[in-house]
C-alpha cells in the first residue's frame, strides 16, 4: 500500500519525525513548512470567528469530510435538552449549527448520542488513529497524542487556515523524551504521573517541543491513562505529547465506528507498527524519571507544576528555588488561602468535580465509583460528576455507575466541559475550594476567586467522602 512516508523519516528514527515527515506538503524557502491535517475537530467557542472570516473572504471549507464538530465548552450539564437559558451560549451553539450546515461539516450537537468533550469523542469514534495529525482550537488537543498521533491546539486564525486549506504552517518543534522507568507504586495513577512530570520539568519545560513519553511506567498505562498523560502536555508548555502505539492502542481501536475494517485494518496495523522510535534514535532533550519516586499528589498552587504528595504539607515559599519562584509561590498561597506547613490531609474541601477531557472517561468514572461504593459524600461537600461524553454517560449507566454516584450523594450530570473551565455556569463561589480531576488550577479557572486543587479521580472520590484531601485507603472500611 502506497503512503507518503519519505526516506528522511526512516533516517531520523523518532516517532515524532516519522509522523511529521509523512505530513509535509511543502517546505518553501523562507517560510515554515506546510503540514497536512488529517482531522480537524471544531467546537462552539473558538470557531465562530473563523467561519466568519472564511465567509468574508469568500472561501469554503476545503475538506468538510475531515472536519468534525461538537458542542462541549458551554453546554448545560443539567437538563441539556431543555431551553438554553444563557443567551450567549445559545447563540454560540446556534452559530455552530448554522456553520456546520452551511459547510457540510458533521456535527454532534447537544442531544446527539455522540456529543461530548471534543477530546473524548474523537478517540471514542475511532477518528483518532496512530500517525495522524489532529488539530483543534483547544490546547488539550494534545490528548490525541496517546495514539501516536501528532495532535496540538491552535488559535482561531489557525482554525480558519485549516478550514480553508486543510494545512498548517508550523516551524518544526524539537523532540523531547520523558522516560518514566519502572513500575508505578500502588495508588499512583496516570494523573499523578503527569503531575509529577510537570513538577519535574516546570510549566515551560516542554516549550517548543513535542514530548514523547517513554518507559515501562508509560507502557503499563491503558488508553485512558495515556490520554490523561498526553492531555496535560500543554501544562508543561509542550506543543504536543505522544506515546508510540502498541497492542493496547490497537485493541482500543479495533471495531470503533471510524477504525479501518477488513483488509484496511491489516494494512493500517502494518503501518502503525512502524510508528515507534528506533532504538538508536536520539532526542534534542531527554528527562528520566524513576516511577518508584512518584506519589499520589495534590496541587497546592495556581499552576499545575505546584504539587505535593498527599502525605506532605503545604510548602514554605522560602524553601523553593529562585526568588521569582518564591514570589510566585507566595502569591499562589495567598490566592489559595493556605498556610505553609499545613498537612495536605487537613485541608477541607467544599466542592468535588469529576470529569473533563483529562479524567472524564469511563475508566475514570469506574475508578471513582469503586471508592464511592457503599459510602456517602461528606455533608460539607457538593460533589458533581460530569461524564466526558454522552456515550460515556450511557456506558456508565449500563453498568450501574450512576446509581453508585447518586447513592453516595454525587450529582450525575450530562456531558460537557462543565466546571473544568466554568463557562456553562458550573462554577465555584469565591474562596470555595475544590478537588478537581481537571487540568488547570489557574486563578479563577473554575469561577472568580475559586480555589482549585488538581487530583486523580480516586483521590477526588475519597476526598468527597472525607471532606478533606484523602486517599481511598484512608476511608473507614477500606481494606
Amino acid at each position: 500500500m502506497e503512503n507518503s512516508v519519505g526516506d528522511a523519516a526512516a533516517a531520523s528514527g523518532r516517532l515524532f519525525d516519522k509522523v511529521w515527515q509523512r505530513h509535509l506538503v511543502a517546505s518553501p524557502d523562507g517560510e515554515p513548512p506546510l503540514i497536512y491535517i488529517d482531522l480537524h475537530l471544531v467546537h462552539e467557542v473558538t470557531s465562530p470567528q473563523a467561519f466568519e472570516g472564511l465567509e468574508l473572504a469568500g472561501r469554503t471549507v476545503r475538506r468538510p469530510d475531515l472536519t468534525v464538530a461538537t458542542m462541549d465548552h458551554d453546554v448545560p450539564t443539567i437538563n441539556p435538552l431543555g431551553p438554553i437559558t444563557d443567551p450567549l451560549a445559545a447563540e454560540q451553539m446556534a452559530r455552530l449549527r448554522k456553520n456546520c450546515e452551511a459547510h457540510g461539516v458533521t456535527l454532534y450537537p447537544l442531544g446527539s448520542a455522540d456529543q461530548g468533550v471534543v477530546h473524548v469523542i474523537g478517540p471514542q469514534l475511532g477518528l483518532t488513529q496512530p500517525g495522524m495529525t489532529v488539530v483543534c482550537g483547544d490546547s488539550h488537543t494534545s490528548t490525541h497524542g496517546a495514539f501516536g498521533a501528532l495532535a496540538f491546539g491552535i488559535g482561531t486564525t489557525e482554525v480558519e487556515h485549516v478550514l480553508a486549506t486543510q494545512t498548517l504552517r508550523q516551524v518544526k518543534p524539537q523532540a523531547m523524551a520523558v522516560i518514566v522507568d519502572g513500575e508505578l507504586p500502588a495508588g499512583v495513577t496516570a494523573k499523578d504521573l503527569v503531575l509529577g512530570i510537570i513538577a519535574e520539568i516546570g510549566t515551560g519545560g516542554g516549550a517548543g517541543s513535542v514530548i514523547e513519553y517513554r518507559g515501562a511506567a508509560v507502557r503499563s498505562l491503558d488508553m485512558a491513562g495515556r490520554m490523561t498523560v498526553c492531555n496535560m502536555s500543554i501544562e508543561a508548555g509542550a506543543r504536543a505529547g505522544m506515546i508510540a502505539p502498541d497492542d493496547v492502542t490497537f485493541a482500543f481501536l479495533e471495531g470503533r465506528p471510524h477504525s479501518p475494517k477488513g483488509a484496511d485494518w491489516e494494512r493500517a496495523l502494518d503501518d502503525w507498527r512502524s510508528l515507534v522510535t528506533d532504538d538508536d534514535a536520539t532526542f534534542d532533550r531527554a528527562v528520566r524519571i524513576d516511577a518508584a519516586t512518584l506519589r499520589p499528589v495534590v496541587t497546592w498552587g495556581t499552576n499545575p507544576a505546584q504539587s505535593v504528595s498527599i502525605d506532605g504539607v503545604v510548602p514554605d515559599p522560602a524553601s523553593l528555588g529562585t526568588a521569582a519562584q518564591q514570589q510566585a509561590a507566595q502569591r499562589a498561597l495567598d490566592y489559595m488561602g493556605l498556610t505553609p506547613g499545613t498537612a495536605v490531609r487537613d485541608i477541607p474541601v467544599q466542592v468535588v468535580f469529576i470529569g473533563s477531557c483529562t479524567n472524564g472517561r469511563l475508566a475514570d468514572l469506574r475508578a471513582a465509583a469503586r471508592v464511592l461504593q457503599g459510602r456517602k459524600v461528606s455533608p460539607s461537600v457538593r460533589a458533581i460528576v460530569v461524564p466526558g461524553s454522552a456515550r460515556v454517560k450511557a456506558e456508565a449507566e449500563a453498568e450501574g455507575l450512576d446509581a453508585v454516584f447518586t447513592a453516595a450523594g454525587f450529582e450525575w450530570r450530562s456531558a460537557g466541559c462543565s466546571m473544568c473551565l466554568g463557562m456553562n455556569g458550573d462554577i465555584l463561589a469565591p474562596r470555595e475550594r475544590s478537588a478537581s480531576t481537571s487540568n488547570r488550577n489557574f486563578e479563577g479557572r473554575q469561577g472568580p476567586g475559586g480555589r482549585t486543587h488538581l487530583v486523580s479521580p480516586a483521590m477526588a472520590a475519597a476526598t468527597a467522602v472525607a471532606g478533606h484531601f484523602a486517599m481511598p485507603g484512608d476511608l473507614e472500611g477500606a481494606g
Binding site: P32, Y36, Q49, T157, T203, E235
Partner: protein
C-alpha cells in the same frame, strides 16, 4: 491583518511569570462570537484591585506590555490576543512566550518581542525611574529601544513572523499558492484514514 513595522509608546510592567490566558481573558468572555470588544475583560480579575497596574492613569494610553517568562501559557484562546489589542496594546515584551500564544499573536498582528531575562529586567528597572518614557519596539530591526535611558537591546522574532508582520500578510493567501501541492498530497493519502460519515445534525 494590518502591517506593523514599529510600535512606539508608553509601556506598563506586569512583572509576573506564567501569566496564563485565563488571566488575560477569563472564560466567561469567550461566549462572544466577535473578534472585538474584549478589552473590558482584559485581566478582569486582577483589575478588581484598584492598585493594579492597568488601573493606573499611565496604562490608559499604553501600547506595550512588559511581562515575566512563559507569558500566555495555558488555553489556546486567541481571544487573549484580541483582548490585549482591544485594550490598546500592540506589542508584548517578555523573556519567553507560550508557543500557542505566540502563534496566535503573529496571526493577529500583535508583536511578541522575546528578549533575554537580563534585558527585560534592565528595561523594567529603567522604566521604574521614568514610567512615562516612550519605548520603541522596532519589528524591522528586531530591537527594543528606550531612548530616555539610552537603552537598546535585540529581541527574537522568527524571520517568517517578522516578514508577515511587516507585510501584513493573510496567511491563507500565502498558503493557497501551494494549492497544487496540497491536492497532490491528498492523492497520496492512505485510503484507510478516517473521514466523517453522514451529517449527524440531520438526524437529531
Amino acid at each position: 491583518m494590518r502591517a506593523v513595522s514599529k510600535v512606539e509608546g508608553r509601556a506598563v510592567t506586569l512583572d509576573r511569570r506564567d501569566i496564563d490566558t485565563d488571566q488575560i481573558i477569563p472564560a466567561a468572555w469567550l461566549k462572544r462570537v466577535e473578534r472585538t470588544g474584549f478589552g473590558a475583560g482584559l485581566f478582569e480579575a486582577w483589575r478588581a484591585d484598584p492598585g493594579f497596574v492597568l488601573n493606573t492613569p499611565a496604562a490608559a494610553d499604553a501600547k506595550i506590555l512588559i511581562a515575566g517568562a512563559n507569558f500566555g501559557c495555558g488555553s489556546s484562546r486567541e481571544h487573549a490576543v484580541w483582548a490585549l489589542q482591544d485594550f490598546g496594546f500592540a506589542a508584548v515584551i517578555a523573556p519567553s512566550f507560550a508557543d500557542i500564544f505566540r502563534g496566535n499573536s503573529i496571526g493577529a498582528g500583535l508583536v511578541t518581542a522575546q528578549a533575554g531575562e537580563e534585558s527585560v529586567a534592565s528595561l523594567i528597572a529603567a522604566l521604574a525611574n521614568r514610567p512615562d518614557a516612550d519605548v520603541i519596539v522596532d519589528v524591522a530591526e528586531r530591537t527594543i529601544g528606550l531612548p530616555s535611558a539610552s537603552l537598546s537591546m535585540p529581541f527574537d522574532l522568527p524571520d517568517y513572523a517578522r516578514w508577515r508582520l511587516l507585510e501584513g500578510l493573510d496567511d491563507i493567501g500565502v498558503t493557497l499558492r501551494h494549492a497544487d501541492a496540497i491536492t497532490e498530497f491528498e492523492r497520496r493519502r492512505p485510503g484507510w484514514l478516517p473521514a466523517s460519515g453522514p451529517r449527524a445534525h440531520a438526524t437529531t
